[in-house]
């Protein structure tokens, strides 16, 4: 599921017309390697920078967090928002 989340994040970044390096710089990261780590599906977007990540992609923070929760914690997402909610 993290891989699917990574693909989704990659698409949203492309929509925002940002490179991995652009996004990393805007998030205050020295290198863009972590963006790649997340987009390749090996790590999650850390909660502490989830809001900033959403802002840079032009997505509403709660919608962004809710969408990622669907991939990262599907059961918790189902309990909170029901099976139909996305």
């Amino acid at each position: 599921m993290r891989k699917v989340a990574g693909d989704w994040l990659k698409l949203r970044r492309a929509d925002a017309e940002l490179s991995q390096a652009d996004l990393a710089a805007r998030l205050g990261l020295k290198y863009y390697t972590f963006i790649s780590q997340v987009e390749n599906g090996f790590s999650r977007v850390p909660t502490e920078i989830m809001g900033a990540w959403a802002n840079e992609l032009g997505i509403e923070q709660s919608a962004f967090a809710k969408h990622l929760l669907m991939y990262y914690e599907p059961e918790l997402h189902r309990l909170l928002f029901g099976a139909e909610s996305k």
Binding site: Y32, F34, Q37, N40, F42
Partner: protein
């Protein structure tokens, strides 16, 4: 006149065998059989190579990541924390070795087993101890009377 062929620095593409060997040698204990850890490689959108040390199943999350950008090696943890960077891979690999979470699954299993044995022993010994305590409570007044 002869031209000296300098070795071209690998900046993008794939890990060389020498590089992968250096990383895997440093992480040999972390990736040993029984730890449950695995590793994978990937690339950034610019084609910089990355090495991911993954935690055991089911999570298989990145614990450490070594990337090579323009001849420089970057060591990060799974949350994006920059741990070390240097052009010398051997040095970076040493830092990676030191950064591996130390509580191995074998250790966790050993502790769990120890707790289970202790709990079982306690359960068996408890009736004996209770019985002993009961006897003691019964006899103390009598012993006190003799004293």
């Amino acid at each position: 006149m002869s031209v000296v062929a300098f070795e071209r620095k690998q900046n993008t593409g794939e890990w060389s065998e020498r590089e992968l060997s250096a990383i895997l040698a440093a992480l040999s204990a972390a990736t040993a059989l029984g730890t449950g850890r695995e590793w994978e490689t990937g690339v950034t959108e610019k084609g910089d190579v990355q090495f991911y040390l993954l935690s055991p199943l089911p999570d298989q999350a990145c614990e450490l990541c070594v990337s090579r950008i323009g001849g420089r090696y970057i060591l990060e943890d799974g949350t994006g924390r920059l741990l070390f960077e240097h052009w010398n891979l051997e040095l970076v690999a040493l830092h990676a070795k030191a950064a591996v979470p130390s509580t191995s699954w074998l250790m966790v299993r050993a502790i769990t087993l120890w707790c289970a044995v202790r709990s079982a022993l306690h359960e068996k010994a408890e009736p004996w101890l209770a019985e002993g305590e009961e006897l003691f409570v019964q006899f103390v007044p009598q012993l006190a009377a003799f004293a």
